[in-house]
Amino acid sequence: MARKSWMYAVLEAVQAEMRKDKSMVWLFELTPPVASTPGKPVINLEKEFGRIRVNNTGIDEMWMAGATLGCGLAGVKAVTYIPYQGNGMCFQMIQNHAGKLRHMTGGDAAMPIVFILEMTGQTPGFAGQHSDYEIDTYYAHIPGVKTVIPSTPADAKGMMVSAIRDPNPVVYLYPAGLRDMMEEVPDEQYTTPLDKAAIRTEGSDITIVGSGGGMPEVLKAATQLQGSGMKVETIDLRCFKPMDTETLVKSVQKTKRLLTVDQSYYTLCPGAEVIARVAENVDGARFKRIAFPDAPPPASPEMFLWMRPNADHIVKAASQLVG
């Protein structure tokens, strides 16, 4: 057990799996699979496993995703780390191939592969093409691909181990805004389920559901609201597909109020799906969603930070919903 960053926790998981499985591969561009954390050895997958297995490719995300899928179809475990600039370039391979092959082969194809898709949206100033948080919705929509989004280093490790060991293709979203987050993470391998939401705070007045890079603001708002006496149940969605409907429904059956928070665009944001599932199963509840407006993120920090949902917005919306 030691304090580890998000990326250190993830690479620790991958390193252990690659030591066990001598053919498992990792494909990357831009971001080398290297991480360090105080008091622990530096992890450098390229150095440890060599360039045959850990390959620095050209700027070709179609290749990265397709090669990963091809490995999987041939029985070789594979993980690719696609930086946020390229996380739409590989869409076809994941949506029309990885997502459909199991079904199209009548159950023959197994794809023990992980697509790590980095997403930004937390960085003011990057603008348009370099702020693409909305991919959570795009990838969550695909059948046949499990789509998950850890929001803490400990979950990141456990869910990475589960994703690698899962025989299905997994889209593993990495909110890059959480890069600096540190917490205690066990050294040994452990698994965290790919179909369970996490209840972060328990309460009976309101359910607030968020995910990924939005969680720090959700938790900040929850702390403020609890300080003023509101009993807030906070849920970290963690898994978009399959979505943990049971946890969501049980919570809102108790609170009768549901506020969803997304950094993704309003239309079809993950919160829209959460609200729909709860509305189908809970009578007499009230709903509200907060999301990024249906506009590309502008460069100017003045515009961008005003548009991005934050703890103040959550506190106000929750107070209105409860009051």
């Binding site: 561009e29 831009l30 080398p32 290297v34 450098n44 390229e46 150095k47 620095n56 490719t57 050209g58 700027i59 070709d60 179609m62 290749w63 600039q85 390229g86 370039m89 100033g125 990057f126 603008a127 348009g128 093409q129 370099h130 506020l259 309003y266 509200k288 969603r289 907060i290 999301a291 990024f292 407006p293 249906d294 506009a295 590309p296 502008p298 460069a299 100017s300 920090p301 003045e302 515009m303 961008f304 930070l305 005003w306 548009m307 991005r308 949902p309 934050n310 917005h313 959550i314 106000k316 919306a317 209105q320």
Partner: protein
């Protein structure tokens, strides 16, 4: 020594025999060059064939030198600002070292007039040099990179997405690949409209490995589009050497596949770049199809921002923490800096008797003042109104705020 072909200005001597009838003579040679280049061999000698730059007026030559300086001092001033002013929020993928490429290419284009007549340029994530060379307003560009409401794109774009339709600069693009296709698409549109416009895309060595590379050149060649692909091979895509993603030493060799001219040019020498670009432009306007120009060049700074750089000094050296497994040897950077595009262009102008040393220095002093003024002006510009972020999504109106619930 950097890997460049021996096409330095020193090997190119003035031939008085050519002076009287140079144009006719060159036309013939250029045609021959284009035809023979289909084999992909003689194309490399292209820089030795064209003498277009020597036909330029003194004013045009001086303007090219000024453009190179404008780019250089923009980069240096911004790097210094990033290193010394904690309140400064702008950033850049610095173009310093590559100035001659943007300048030489854009000098061969039509940059003024009605939008329907302008040659267009599509740029990359390293756009400041291309933008300046195409003629964008320097003050407004600096303001845009500083997120100001009066910037080139009113604060929506910032560095990686700047554009200016009024000079045919259709924009920086933060992605690798799509820009090529869009640029060829514009050329397709020009052909349909029957205009004489040319579409140029700048791309790095990293674009070779993208699927877009093939689609773009294949379609441009099949359709004989008025299209020029300027591939700036600065040896590194992001942090990886281009040998990681390209099996050839000269990416221009790829042109053979498409039966179009593939030209390798010394990207540090603006005259060589201009010559190659001029021939490609004439070819495009004459309906003869696309050209792939590979400019061998180098970036003095690291991929992004100013790690390894010191205020007041040109270039970045040593270890870039972002380039953990593939970073540039300092000797390589120093070697390339000995063939500096600013020095080469100044020395050429002095040798050609266009300016003397004193005039060259005076021009540089004036450009430095112009750049300093631009940064000063930008720093006094208003910040954006937050709610304007909801505008410009569609042509009409704004979208609703959703962040408050």
């Amino acid at each position: 020594m950097p890997e460049t072909r021996d096409i330095s200005p020193e090997t190119q001597t003035e031939n008085p025999v050519l002076s009287a009838n140079r144009r006719t003579f060159l036309k013939g040679l250029a045609g021959a060059g284009a035809a023979i280049s289909l084999t992909g061999t003689l194309a490399r000698a292209n820089g030795e064939i064209g003498f277009w730059a020597k036909d330029l007026s003194n004013d045009q030559l001086i303007e090219m030198y000024r453009t190179i300086l404008r780019i250089r001092w923009h980069e240096r001033t911004q790097a210094d600002k990033m290193l010394t002013d904690p309140g400064y929020r702008g950033y850049n993928h610095f173009y310093a070292g590559q100035e001659a490429v943007a300048t030489g290419v854009c000098a061969a284009l039509n940059n003024k007039g009605k939008f329907e007549e302008l040659d267009v340029v599509y740029s990359t994530h390293r756009p400041s040099g291309h933008a300046i060379a195409k003629g964008v307003d320097l003050k407004k560009m600096v303001a845009e990179m500083d997120f100001r409401a009066t910037g080139l794109n009113r604060g929506y774009a910032a560095e990686m997405h700047i554009s200016d339709k009024s000079v045919g600069f259709l924009g920086a693009d933060g992605m690798i690949g799509p820009g090529l296709v869009m640029a060829a698409g514009s050329a397709f549109g020009f052909r349909a409209r029957g205009s004489k416009q040319v579409s140029v895309v700048f791309g790095g060595d990293g674009t070779y490995a993208t699927p877009a590379f093939h689609g773009t050149l294949n379609n441009a060649a099949l359709l004989k589009l008025p299209f020029i692909y300027v591939l700036e091979n600065n040896l590194y895509h992001q942090y990886a050497h281009y040998s990681y993603s390209c099996p050839m030493k000269d990416i221009a060799d790829a042109a053979r596949t498409y039966r179009i001219p593939g030209v390798v040019v010394d990207g540090q020498d603006v005259m060589q770049v201009y010559n190659a670009a001029r021939e490609a432009v004439e070819r495009a306007r004459a309906g003869e199809g696309p050209t792939l120009i590979e400019a061998k060049t180098y970036r003095y700074y690291n991929h992004w921002g100013a790690p390894g750089a010191k205020a007041g000094e040109l270039g970045a050296f040593g270890y870039d923490p972002l380039a953990i497994t593939s970073f540039r040897p300092e000797r390589e950077v120093r070697a390339w800096m000995t063939r500096d595009p600013v020095d080469i262009s100044r020395n050429t102008l002095i040798r050609w008797g266009v300016v003397d040393q004193a005039r060259a220095t005076a021009i540089e002093t004036a450009v430095r003042a112009e750049v300093a003024d631009a940064f000063d002006w930008a720093s006094r510009q208003p910040l954006c109104k937050p709610e304007d972020g909801l505008k410009n999504v569609f042509v009409e109106g704004s979208v609703p705020a959703r962040q408050f619930g």
